[in-house]
């Protein structure tokens, strides 16, 4: 009987595919190559979940423990694979719980598609149970959004959603689908979207501008490259490396661009920005040509704009025309995908070396090493530092791990000291600074790259914002490694209170639970380290584990992250202490 029914259904499909909207959504996902999604069910999305049940052999749905976790997991997946991540939720509270992840994906240009259920069309606007205007709410935090109210809109809109999320400067798309559109039938046929007439995802490169840029670069005495995530999103790592090497130009990264060039590349001079390296910040104001590639001059990178690189000619490689001149007015803008513009530029670049100029970076590095790095990585005080934990992870994972960080001091320390060999290996919430990002993002990253070691570095504060996602790690045995650097404080805020609010620690001291016991409650192997002598062994045990592993490291309670550009100050005024 059952098989007969199934057979009939298959036949019906072949003869024109008359299916429900809910089933159509599954077919759209499959047609886009999606085999893994994250989400949380509820009334308004139940028809789709019913189809997920039927298609579970081809499409895995992971039940996160909160919809925010679903968005961050989809982001982690997208960031590590370069593919579109997918999250699903019900209407009302399910939908509003997606907002933080959408905003994070919007500001960090991460391609995700979020699908929400909505009350039936005839109830729209009636304040029905769990009705919320998610299209209105999500408008400022999505690249595009749309409400589907008729089943036959589904294939075209879904195709458009994936195309828009991934093309050009990527970003989040939200598709809200009323319940009637999930129940109603349509004649299903799917065609991938190859263009939208009002949308130009990638501007055409301008050869004249490229030639002018090459002349400027070839004549420069102190050229300096700062690259961002555009290199990773454009998969231009090889082109960047070739350019850096041919022109012999020192190159620094924003945290979103980290890992695009191996850490130990001789011309990789480190990190720019508020807690970046000393040389890369100070020398921004001494270079003669600043070559910004796939970065957007965020205020955390530039400090005070009025004193940022005023002496330099600026060349800006950018895919999004709205970013050109938004914060820093370039002398030459090179619009287009940087993979293409870099390829066009490269033949025009003269082979060169800038030894003396590079030596200035080395000199500044020595100063920073003496003043900061030495104490971070090889401390002589009894308390453990965050830096030495990162150093142990580097060693144990042989620079091969994907490092996922949350937000705060540990994030800055991890970005400063983690070492990378491969691109797409540093996953962090850069633009929004979303505490709670790391644990779910690490789940998505691991599931997107099962062959890689994925280590989440999290503060004791942010950990407790999405700690419930341990349930996913336990249920699906996702072998992520979780490191909580516990300082019993909201460390980064405490640091600011110490430096700028005369140590008035307003609501930054935390009485924490027994994190090891919590992990044990989820049957996750776990260990706590309080002494330096145990650290190496614990980290090695964690990395060697085939299963998920939780490691709590009790670090110094009141350490500060340096160097630091106080907010509003110039990159040249970065403080070493």
């Amino acid at each position: 009987m059952e098989t007969l029914k199934a057979q009939k259904k298959e036949q019906k499909k072949e003869a024109g595919m008359r299916i429900t909207g809910a089933e159509a959504i599954i077919h759209c996902l499959l047609a886009e190559g999606v085999d893994l999604i994250y989400g949380y069910p509820g009334g308004a999305i139940m028809p789709v979940y019913d189809e997920l049940y039927k298609f579970q052999d081809r499409l895995t749905h992971i039940l996160t423990r909160h919809e925010q976790g679903a968005t961050h997991a989809a982001q982690g997946f997208a960031r590590v694979t370069g593919k579109v991540g997918v999250a699903m939720a019900t209407s009302g509270p399910g939908a509003t719980n997606l907002v933080t992840g959408l905003a994070d994906a919007q500001i960090d240009s991460t391609p995700i598609v979020c699908i929400t259920g909505q009350v039936p069309r005839h109830l729209l606007g009636s304040d029905a149970f769990q009705e919320t205007d998610i299209v209105g709410i999500s408008t400022p935090v999505t690249k595009w959004n749309y409400q589907i109210t008729k089943a036959d809109e589904i294939p075209e809109i879904m195709a458009k959603a994936f195309y828009i999320a991934k093309s050009g400067r990527p970003g989040p798309v939200l598709i809200d689908i009323t319940k009637n559109a999930q129940f109603d039938e349509l004649d299903f046929a799917y065609e991938k979207c190859s263009g939208v007439r009002s949308y130009k995802p990638v501007p055409k490169p301008n050869m004249e501008a490229i030639t002018a840029a090459a002349a400027l670069i070839n004549a420069a005495k102190k050229p300096y490259i700062v690259w961002g995530q555009g290199i990773i999103l454009g998969e231009a790592e090889e082109e960047l490396k070739a350019f850096v090497e041919k022109a012999g130009i020192p190159a620094a990264w924003t945290i979103m661009g980290e890992s695009a060039l191996p850490t130990d590349h001789p011309l990789n001079v480190g990190m720019v920005g508020m807690h970046g390296n000393y040389g890369p910040n100070v020398l921004t104001n001494e270079c003669d040509v600043l070559i910004a590639i796939g970065m957007r001059f965020d205020d955390r990178v530039t400090g005070n704009l009025d004193t940022y690189a005023k002496q330099a000619k600026v060349i800006h490689f950018e895919i999004d025309p709205a970013e050109v001149g938004k914060n820093v007015k370039p002398d030459i803008a090179l619009l287009g995908n940087c993979k293409e513009t870099l390829s066009l530029l490269l033949p025009l670049i003269k082979e060169n070396e800038h030894k003396e100029w590079k030596a200035e970076f080395d000199k500044k590095h020595k100063e920073e090493f003496e003043a900061v790095i030495k104490n971070d990585l090889h401390p002589t005080k009894p308390g453990l530092t965050m830096g030495e934990v990162i150093e142990q992870i580097n060693e144990a994972s042989k620079h091969e791990a994907v490092i996922v960080t949350d937000v705060g001091q540990h994030q800055m320390i991890a970005c400063r000291y983690a070492k990378f060999k491969k691109s797409k290996s540093n996953i962090t919430s850069g633009g929004l600074g979303t505490m709670g990002f790391a644990l779910p993002a690490a789940i998505g990253a691991k599931m997107g790259a099962m062959d890689r070691e994925v280590v989440a570095i999290i503060g004791d504060g942010g950990y407790q914002m999405t700690i419930q996602e341990l349930g996913v790690i336990f249920q699906h045995n996702v072998p992520v490694k979780i490191v909580v650097l516990n300082n019993d404080h909201l460390g980064m805020v405490r640091q600011w209170q110490e430096l700028f609010f005369e140590s008035r620690y307003a609501s930054t001291v935390m009485t924490n639970p027994d994190f090891v016991k919590i992990a044990e409650g989820y049957h996750i192997k776990s260990r706590r380290v309080e002494k330096r002598t145990d650290l190496k062994d614990a980290v090695q045990e964690m990395i060697a584990s085939k299963d998920p592993y939780f490691l709590e490291v009790r670090v110094e309670k009141e350490d500060n992250v340096f160097p630091m550009i106080p907010s509003g100050a110039s990159v040249a005024d970065i403080r070493l202490k």
Binding site: P321, A322, V328, K329
Partner: protein, 181 residues
Amino acid sequence: MTSSKDTMEKQWYTISVYSENNVGLLNRISGIFLKRHINIESLNVSKSEIENVSKFTIVIYTTEDWTRKIVNQIEKQIEVIKAFYHTDEETIFQESALFKIASHLLFDERQIQNIIKESKSQIVTVNREFFVLAKTGRRHEIDEMHDALEPYGIMQFVRSGRITVTKATMPISEILAEFQD
């Protein structure tokens, strides 16, 4: 190099946006102004010279630097085909206004007839209770007419958003044709 700074003078700019006809787009576009605390002085949405393409005409008073950034953000929206900005000198623009006035004034106040004549406005309708004057022109002409009529009592007044055509071309058909190939 220079960093962006509001060094430029503020003046009136008209932003013309050609877009797909989409319900959510007005919300998206107004959000761009909201986010930057820039007041929309006037907004008009209509069809354009191209079938199925809508046109927003938005007037703001700000610097060119801000105007350019806003236009870039507008143009970035998926359903926006193209956005332009122009100064008053670069455009031909008009606004329309309607004045509803008590009918007896037409006979009791001789001056009103002069105002109608001088302002080159039209009487749209007259009945026992009221008559309606329509005036199309520059903002200051409408303001002058308003000031002239005000002492006699205006029952209702409304002025439309600015509508604008530009002296230079706005080559939308070419942009759409480019997509076709």
